[in-house]
């Protein structure tokens, strides 16, 4: 078992999300940064669907009550095992009684802790991803005990360390293709969307990223229609809503862009105040 001694900011269990349940109005959910989460699982030879612990900016404090391996990827929050610094993107041997802590976040926003075999919480609608009114709890709290499978092979010697390109965290560009209603915007607004610099607003969360800047908008709301993670909606007051993994399945605001999968992952590593620009690409 793995005990949460102190929780971080909105720690949750996430996997690759729920498939085939959007027809019931259920969001896909799942890890915000699929790229880093897959990396953490791959380091432990886990299936890519294995559930991980996702944390934001501030990592939790965990106490392990089992022999296993873990790996940490995504945001670099200076992790330590029993007060001794350890690195992201490595396989780390864990013994009963070990305590994992995090320090200041140097790079990125969302971090992932993978455990050998994956976290074993209950699956609801085919996934372990936490979401309000679907799973029992929306977030992890202090005192929660997380289950993991016993690790069968504890003699793996691995010196593999994977480097994640810094551009994954620092690139200021989000690749987009035109959204369904993009063509209805005036040419001037279309042009402006690519010239303007945007910054991440404080209200951003797993449902959507919002921006501090507004855009002139003369588009009306549309008949409620379908949206996906990565859809950029423009509200009547000119605010941009970039939908993320926990977004609703439907919406009534014009859809001006669709982010590429890798841009959704990159945006998930941005925090309040970070800057970005949109870049139109012909093909993702």
């Amino acid at each position: 078992m793995i005990e949460i001694i102190k929780s971080g900011l909105y720690d949750s269990i996430q996997d690759l999300g729920r498939m085939g349940v959007r027809q019931f109005g259920v969001p896909v959910s799942g890890v915000m940064d699929v790229y880093c989460a897959k990396l953490a699982n791959a380091l432990l030879d886990n299936d890519e669907e294995s559930a991980l612990l996702e944390f934001n900016w501030q990592g939790p404090q965990l106490k392990f009550h089992l022999d296993t391996y873990i790996s940490i990827s995504g945001a670099n929050c200076n992790p330590s095992l029993n007060v001794k610094p350890i690195k992201n993107n490595q396989r780390i041997r864990i013994r009963p009684g070990d305590v994992l802590t995090f320090g200041k976040c140097d790079m990125g926003f969302r971090g992932y802790i993978a455990v050998a075999g994956g976290f074993q919480s209950d699956k609801v609608m085919g996934s372990r991803s936490m979401y309000k009114h679907v799973t029992d709890k929306p977030v992890l709290l202090k005192g929660d005990m997380l289950q993991a499978k016993p690790c069968l092979n504890l003699n793996i010697v691995s010196r593999v360390s994977i480097k994640v390109p810094k551009s994954h965290f620092r690139s200021k560009y989000l690749d987009v293709m035109p959204g369904i209603e993009f063509g209805k915007l005036s040419k001037a607004v279309q042009k402006m969307l690519f010239q303007q610099k945007f910054t991440v607003a404080n209200a951003s969360n797993r449902m959507a990223y919002q921006c501090n800047e507004t855009v002139e908008n003369d588009l009306q709301s549309i008949i409620t229609t379908l949206v996906l993670p990565g859809t950029v909606q423009l509200t009547p007051s000119g605010e941009l809503m970039i939908l993320m993994r926990d977004c609703q399945t439907t919406g009534g605001y014009p859809r001006i862009f669709q982010l590429s999968e890798s841009s959704i992952n990159r945006l998930a590593q941005k925090k309040t105040g970070d800057e970005f620009r949109f870049k139109m690409v012909n093909k993702f």
């Binding site: 959007r22 027809q23 019931f24 259920v26 609608m125 379908l226 996906l228 609703q248 439907t250």
Partner: protein, 243 residues
């Protein structure tokens, strides 16, 4: 009836098909035909198909390499859609308590639309609503068919929180909130049923294409149904509709 559809690439792995921009039962039925046909094919390349008033989104398990080929394939399937198995549609009888303690905005709608509360409830229960799709919240049914005399604009400032089961009116739509939520619609009553059960094989009682009618229950009955529904012992009355 054949519609002229437009096909768009929506993302790396999805295609959006659009029908004319109207809220219309003929469009709903055509979308359902196409969706059922595609689902019946059991294609491994498709992971999810969702629909709304006049669109359908097809999500593939891999990036779409040649978008024109993918469009062409879908256009061929559209021509064949009537060969799919037709789905049985049902009419569900849904209890609603319109007591003042639940119907927070009954008085306001009654005043502004110049209807007695009795007439308001009668009109709300008289109509047979069509389920267009499920969205917004898990288990939230988008219903069409609200009587024109009950249309009522959304709140300027949404309420921070309304109760689970709240029955509300927003513009020309009516609906039931399956769980507590912030809400911009005006609340007229409460439904005691469990509208979204994530652990059930069928998480929602109704599906797009089904019909719903409300019937009035007292506060006492509401409480009884609530207890039975929580325990999984309430049978929602329904019948099969021949289209």
């Amino acid at each position: 009836m054949d519609f002229i559809l437009t096909y768009h690439r929506y993302s790396e792995r999805s295609i959006l098909i659009e029908w004319p921009q109207d809220i219309d039962e003929n469009i709903l039925e055509d979308i359902m035909l196409f969706k059922n046909y595609l689902e019946g094919l059991g294609l491994k390349s498709i992971v999810d198909i969702i629909s709304a008033y006049n669109s359908m989104l097809i999500i593939y398990n891999e990036a779409i390499d040649n978008i024109n080929d993918a469009f062409l394939t879908l256009k061929r399937y559209y021509i064949k859609r009537k060969l799919g198995q037709s789905q049985t549609s049902r009419l569900w009888q849904i209890p609603v308590c319109y007591d003042e303690s639940f119907g927070w905005d009954l008085q306001e709608i009654s005043n502004k639309n110049m209807l007695s509360k009795g007439d308001l409830v009668r009109l709300h229960c008289q109509a047979i609503y069509r389920v267009y799709f499920i969205g917004f919240l898990p288990g939230f049914l988008y219903l069409g068919g609200l009587n024109g005399r009950l249309h009522f604009p959304r709140k300027k400032t949404p309420r921070k929180r309304i109760e689970k089961g709240a029955v509300a009116i927003g513009g020309n739509q009516t609906g039931i909130y399956p769980n507590e939520s912030p809400a911009g619609w005006h609340v007229i009553g409460n439904c005691p049923l469990k509208l979204f059960c994530p652990s059930n094989a069928k998480p929602c009682f109704a599906k797009p294409g089904d019909r719903v009618q409300f019937y009035q229950v007292s506060k006492d009955e509401h409480q009884k149904i609530c207890t039975a529904a929580e325990a999984g012992n309430f049978y929602i009355k329904h019948g099969v509709v021949d289209d």
